[in-house]
Symmetry: C2
Subunit: 650 residues, 2 copies
């Protein structure tokens, strides 16, 4: 039974809540007890008798040996196994033990249990926290298993613990920062896409920054122990504010909750006990499940979340989905694309404000009716900037003569009907031409354009406007006046794995437009390239080079950088700006998702180490491209050399 | 004129010595002066007037502009250009300058000069030492160039300087350890195979360990400045002992010497001056080249090197050449292979000594004529171990009955003729069978085998002998008694690039037999797996797992680990051993080259960091394979999971 129904759009896996149980060989009863009575959606249950040790089984009996698994595969239907049971691998296993027998028994057991789970078509198995300071043999064995696994996922349990101790002590036998353990494990398994983390939530939480890293990792579920719960005035379990916020964060990232542990809250109506059967063999049907009260609280948290804004709901399907950036200069946009972007009223309002300010600056009130400004919209599309400009003129009482220059002949058709429909024939001239080559009959006071990509200049606004500024008056105004790109380092396991799944270099050297969601932003964004219009110098050079140093806050701990999120901010005119850079983003504007520059090999940055990044904008005779690299703490190859993988055509 | 002729086998490039010159637009004269008069083999000469700056050239003259290069391509024949001239790129360039004009001028010049050199079909260009603390833009630009270069090499000049300063000070604006600069540069260029180092030799040398790293890097030449030379009693230039040793090391690794600088030794017969023309315009033909005396000294060092031992000369062609290991169990060896190995007299003498000792131990002198020992040679091949065993019997006066067991029917043919030829019919029985399945008519006192690979157990000696020990008496002796594999981390740029050139995963997860030469051994080797015969336990388990920690000496500095060199040592019997582990290697034995386990991505280890490595020997029903990984300082993927790339068939 899901935690709640927030609306038809809510397809999140985090609606489902599981419960961890002890071993029982009566799985059907375990299911009915925890699902029907308890209200949970699935159980996380051991598959094999915990007393089993392969080395204790007599060798000579091996022929007739039966693995001590919980029931046979026939006790549940295949769909019940796969939708209601997550296998819990024996927690005694220790694959990095110095004790050879224990180590080899562990390997045998792990392989047998996963083979059994796979035979049952379970969706996932929870594998226990690595013990001790090393995890190489455990990871080697899991990696072997992963190579042969069809669909099943492996969920590695990792404590959400990061002791902020002296870094000197980090070398002890245990892990101060369990993120490091996870990182070693997944590197040894080469970021395998079926390997996930299940976080074990402690009662005392690490810093916000330390926790934040996990939202860029492939976390599938969290185990919420009953001892994390406080007790409210009425004797019911509740969570601290920080825990509540954390749980909401998990809900937001489709991370499932698994309740675990003994019932620690004795309520009038219920009884204490655990989620397994032993203490409840003869329970009567009116008796409540001992952990139901925790589930109810989790459900309460789920239901009290703020509803998603409409725009967010609309964009749900785009979350963490890689798209190739548009090439509007080389390709002509389709009607549907125009349609989508024209709906972004916030954007056009900003343009209208910018044009209005420019008109007022350029034409004093006294002259308003005497002077006609020449305004050219370059890249007019189907006309929204023409409309915004005319509205600005009307609003300010200025007279305007508009040229609408558009290279896409299909959009020009729409422009003509718009002008006729609106009765703009007397002051709007439509020009079907590429602005770079148009021979303008007069010069413009104001040049209005919207040629910006997610990374500002990445749709070649600089090259287009350099061509267009021929017909801008010496003292004319370009709207936008300037724009700047920004980047910040991010952890983005999912994006990395999606890029990797293509198994080629090209995809690792391409920038993607993507609605970033399951990412961890590791440091504030920094400016990269700035372009100003009209270009101040006679010798225009649109090549750029920027070296950036990011400092990751010390309390974050070590992090994995999978690449860089890119944004832009544009100054339209004076204080009117437009952009998606997170700290200054224009609210409720939806025309641009961020851009993502991947790294071919993710780079681990230790606390206190600087992350030095270099970005280049290169210009050739037929194309523009970016190259990028990390120089420190560990140099990466230069990405996209000579634009071999990703470029924008001139 | 080469430095010397050490014999017809000497094809080393280090026979050729170059000289660095200043710019001259009379290249033919530059050549004749330095080659005919000076005796050098090639010149390293600037190609472009050093006063050239692209930004100073008027833009409007650009159509008629001619690059200020040294002469036209016609002044030398194509073969002269390519065999006598190495291009020296303008040393003023600084691609990481904060000065935009200088930076862009540098990029333009670098590209123009290399394009010109490429037009002339030069073999290589020397590119200057990066200036300042960053080299990312320089590397990006070189990387762009490398992508489009057909055959020409780029030689990056790097000072052989490693100041053993406080590591705290390493963050200064300059490089304390120039190896780090090289490492950043080549990582940014992704180990490009046409990018080489030219070391600039200082008068004061860093530690042996620090220098040692370079022998695993792709060093093509060294620049030997005249100010490195001391003056001997007769006023002639000479080098310190450490410098002499270093130069010999370069000769040994096919690294060319380039003499550079002003003549600092005024000799009676010559004149001082530099290698360029200016001071020698009107020189008469009897006058000596001012740097000739330095060349003569370099030639003297070349000629006084110890001659290569015959075996080394024979193996010259195998240096750093990757070979797949034999699979003698799955495949039958060819006659030629037997022929080669049978020539290794040292090996068979060790076996003879071991058998002799075993016979003496087992049969007291008093019983020598009364008792007949049963000795079985398992894997008898064409009979060398049968012969060694019989010689041991003769030497000790013991009586022997020999079974020669061999699975290769082709070798059995040879065995039969050997026995007939030698008249051994009465005491040698030939068995054509796989030892694992042979039904022996009696049990053996001594089991002799030589089933060892370069890594000891890698040709499945354990599995074969486990099968054969059925017919060894309870108290019988196996020769060998045990064997142990060893590994050590190495820098091996050439091997890494050769593996990489295959562009697939399989080659990165394969172990290779290779005569290691241009490698740097970074730490003493450590034991990995040991097998003892007869196997002590009833339950034989030939799986193995070993975790190793290597400490790289602090004065080495940072290093790049491209993989691991593997060796073995075998105890034949008591104190008689046989092996290739460097510290205990059997002299003059040539049957085994080391083995090389590559890393998919080389791992950089900083001073003071431990290198933790894990090796597994895995056993399946039809094959045996190794898996390996690095766990620290930075986890690698586990290599060769499930033996997917490299395995030995059972």
């Amino acid at each position: 039974m899901p935690l709640g129904e927030r609306g038809p759009w809510d397809k999140s896996e985090s609606r489902y809540c599981g419960v961890e149980t002890d071993f029982s060989d009566d799985v059907p009863h375990l299911i009915s007890f925890n699902l029907a009575l308890g209200g949970f959606d699935f159980i996380v249950a051991p598959l094999m008798d915990p007393s089993y040790r392969p080395s204790l089984v007599q060798k000579n009996e091996s022929v007739s040996n039966v693995m001590p698994v919980a029931g046979s595969d026939l006790v549940l239907s295949p769909s019940q196994w796969s939708s209601h049971v997550v296998g819990k691998i024996s927690s005694w296993i220790d694959l990095d033990s110095y004790d050879d027998t224990l180590r080899l028994d562990s390997e045998t057991t792990l392989k047998q249990e996963i083979a059994w789970a796979s035979h049952l078509s379970l969706q996932a198995c929870l594998i226990p926290i690595p013990k001790g300071a090393s995890c190489a043999n455990y990871a080697r064995c899991v990696n072997q298993i992963l190579q042969g696994l069809s669909n099943m996922q492996l969920w590695l349990k990792i404590p959400l613990v990061h002791a902020d101790d002296d870094p000197e002590e980090m070398k002890s036998d245990c892990w101060n920062d369990y993120w490091e353990l996870w990182n070693s494990f997944r590197l040894l398994c080469e970021h395998h896409s079926q390997l996930y983390v299940v976080l074990d939530i402690p009662s005392s939480l690490p810093s916000e920054n330390s926790i934040g890293r996990w939202f860029g990792e492939s976390v599938k579920a969290v185990v919420l122990n009953t001892d994390c719960f406080l007790t409210n005035a009425r004797g019911y379990p509740c969570l601290s504010r920080r825990h509540q916020k954390l749980i909401s964060g998990f809900f937001n990232h489709s991370i499932q909750i698994v309740v675990s542990g003994k019932a620690l809250h004795k309520l009038p109506g219920g009884s204490s006990g655990s989620a397994d059967l032993h203490s409840n063999k003869n329970v009567d049907s009116v008796q409540k499940h001992p952990l139901r009260v925790y589930l109810d609280y989790v459900g309460y948290l789920y239901q009290k979340m703020d509803p998603l804004p409409e725009q967010e709901r609309f964009e749900l399907g785009y979350r963490d989905f890689l798209q190739s950036p548009l090439q509007p200069l080389m390709d002509n946009l389709e009607a549907q694309t125009y349609e989508t972007f024209e709906k972004d009223t916030v954007k056009y309002l900003q343009y209208q404000r910018a044009v209005a300010k420019a008109l007022i600056d350029r034409v004093p009130d006294d002259n308003a009716s005497a002077v006609t400004m020449v305004l050219m919209v370059v890249g007019a599309g189907r006309g929204p900037l023409v409309r915004a400009s005319l509205q600005a003129a009307e609003e300010t009482g200025r007279r305007l003569k508009v040229y609408a220059v558009e290279k896409n002949p299909n959009a020009v058709v729409t422009l003509h009907s718009l002008v006729k429909l609106e009765g703009w024939e007397n002051f709007v001239t439509i020009v079907s031409s590429d602005m770079r080559y148009w021979d303008a009959p007069e010069k413009a006071d104001i040049l209005v354009s919207e040629l910006l990509g997610s990374f500002g200049d990445n749709e070649l606004s600089p090259e287009c406007l350099d061509g267009a500024q021929r017909f801008l008056k010496e003292d004319g105004i370009s709207i936008p006046t300037s724009y700047t790109s920004f980047i910040q380092p991010i952890t983005a396991s999912k994006l990395y794995n999606d890029v990797k799944s293509h198994k080629d270099l090209v995809h690792f050297e391409t920038a993607y437009v993507v609605k970033l969601h399951s990412v961890a932003k590791l440091a504030p964004s920094q400016p990269v390239f700035t372009f100003t219009h009209p270009a101040p110098s006679m010798e225009i050079d649109n090549r750029r080079y920027k070296k950036l140093n990011f400092e990751i806050p010390n309390d974050t701990g070590s992090v994995m950088v999978h690449g860089f999120a890119g944004y832009f901010n544009a100054i339209l005119y004076q204080d009117v700006h437009l952009g998606i850079e997170p700290s200054t983003a224009t609210p409720n504007m939806f025309s641009w998702f961020p851009i993502f520059f991947p790294l071919r090999k993710p780079i681990c940055v230790q606390p206190g180490s600087a992350l030095e990044v270099h970005f280049w904008r290169c210009v050739g005779s037929t194309k523009v491209w970016y190259e990028w690299c990390v120089a420190s703490p560990c140099p990466s190859p230069v990405h996209n050399t000579n634009g071999r993988s990703y470029w924008v055509g001139l």
